[in-house]
Symmetry: C2
């Protein structure tokens, strides 16, 4: 019951010898979601031993080179591996001419369907779902049209406690309501959901927010996610530069995490000015203690928490 | 007086964890020539500690992804470093729409001039020269329009031996003819160049032949180069596959080197079928002993040989 993030690249606009540009792969119960695809992502995918052909979804936050220059090589390589299954790419409309260019000049080996889902929402919307997982996109605040993503396990049906069935003589219909997450309302009293049922596991969720400057709605939109990845391009004393470039500082990222009440915060997309970003951590943890710095090659697991 | 090759990538179509796609930088007396630009080349440039802004010329052999997917990131990064000097790109005409696409969608930061020199010759032609170095291009035999390159030091003026000036009482005009590499022809006899003069140094030359299947003219066109880089995508027993894909085997590459009488042979562009290509070396050296396998990160120097 995986919920595992592979961090492939943490550089911002200029890659360094230690950092590839932005790219990640999230494994949710064996279904792979790629988020952003900077140059060299396909090499990092190999190093992380992630399977190319199992990537079903690619989320592209925006059409800046450091987030998409790896897409050409990746789509080509998938073709060379004989991919036949559909690939869904969730991206702003500005991706359409990029895909068109690629197919026209390098698309000969691409025998699989590429489904470009155009992102144009003004608040969080589901853009993909299956029985257990859903993918949402929402606008961010950057220089060009940019979107953040939430990938989350759906709420499972509640399990009804045997003791409650016995104690209250629950009917089939009432059991159904509890499974659906509702209290049981009788004429004479109410049987609260919290007493009669429990979630079999805590649904896990991941939010990706890069690139973005702060904006008021964000914390609400990503409220309570298990893991938040938020760009922290600059340290706290470079707020003016961050504002000019529609990016965030460490403190701004941490404040979002705090306000949203997320489980854990991971930051990345570091400016190449800083060969070491260790000093970012103190700044971040003064505001949000459960923060880590992402590094290329990191594997972050959100464990499956079963209720018994 | 450098003549130094930095090998940045030796993979063929599919990069691996150990090999980036094709890219090289040749340093000739401080002037930098890049040859091919596969994905990730800009990271490899940093690792090799080559200066981005000193690359004046980029030679692109053909418009296949594994030879050019790194160009977008490289051109962007040069822009971000504030490049102002002209960049010359020698490439087939099929590069024009690629450059146009890049400039239209990602060209905002590119404030320097990019001069695309279209390659369309049917035999070796000089496409660039300065006082001491010349760059030639010539067609190769591949699936799409593809060109090889020679970068060489020009013949320097000969030095006339003092003893010969004295012995023969050489006139200014006769000294001039010897400097220009000609015998001195007098009514009564001939003073041979070889006796009266000498080259101050052996001009060095490098030829790059990838991707290509064998063809009759090649050996003549690259005759006598100091260092030849020739693709050896396949081992000797995969000649049929090589022919099908317009590539070369080890034996074919070695035969070209032998027939052309080159100084040294370097091979690369290895099929990803072979995590190790060590066994290629025996095959190569049975035909051309002075062969080496190129690996990512190799630095190959052709030393400056002064005559005294």
């Amino acid at each position: 019951m995986n919920f595992t993030l592979n961090v492939l690249g943490t550089a911002s606009a200029l890659p360094t010898t230690e950092r590839y540009p932005s790219a990640q792969v999230l494994d949710v119960r064996g279904r792979l979601f790629m988020i952003d695809c900077g140059e060299g992502a396909q090499m990092q995918i190999r190093r992380a031993k992630v399977s190319f052909l199992k990537i079903e979804h690619i989320c592209l936050s925006h059409i800046h080179g450091d987030h998409i220059f790896g897409i050409f090589g990746l789509l080509s390589t998938m073709g060379m591996f004989g991919r036949s299954s559909v690939l869904n790419i969730y991206a702003p409309k500005s991706f359409a001419p990029v895909l068109e260019f690629f197919m026209a000049h390098f698309g000969d080996g691409v025998k699989y369907e590429i489904n470009h889902v155009i992102l144009e929402m003004s608040e969080p919307e589901i853009v993909y779902e299956n029985r257990t997982v859903e993918l949402l996109a929402f606008p961010l605040n950057h220089r060009v049209e940019t979107f953040g993503f939430i990938i989350r396990e759906k709420m499972p049906p509640y399990n009804v406690r045997k003791e409650a069935i016995a104690k209250y003589g629950l009917s089939v219909a009432e059991i159904g309501r509890l499974k659906g997450g509702e209290d049981v309302v009788r004429e004479e009293d109410v049987i609260p959901l919290a007493e009669a049922a429990y979630l079999p596991y805590v649904p896990r969720s991941y939010a990706y927010c890069s690139d973005t400057a702060p904006f008021p709605e964000l914390a609400q939109w990503i409220k309570g996610v298990s893991l938040l990845y938020h760009e922290a391009t600059y340290p706290a004393d470079m707020e003016e530069m961050a504002q000019k470039n529609f990016h965030s500082t460490t403190l701004q990222a941490a404040k979002v995490a705090l306000e949203a009440g997320v489980g854990r915060l991971l930051v990345g997309h570091y400016s190449s000015r800083f060969p070491s970003v260790d000093f970012f951590l103190d700044e971040l943890r003064t505001v949000f203690p459960d923060t880590d710095l992402a590094h290329d090659g990191d594997v972050v697991e959100i464990p499956y928490l079963r209720n018994v």
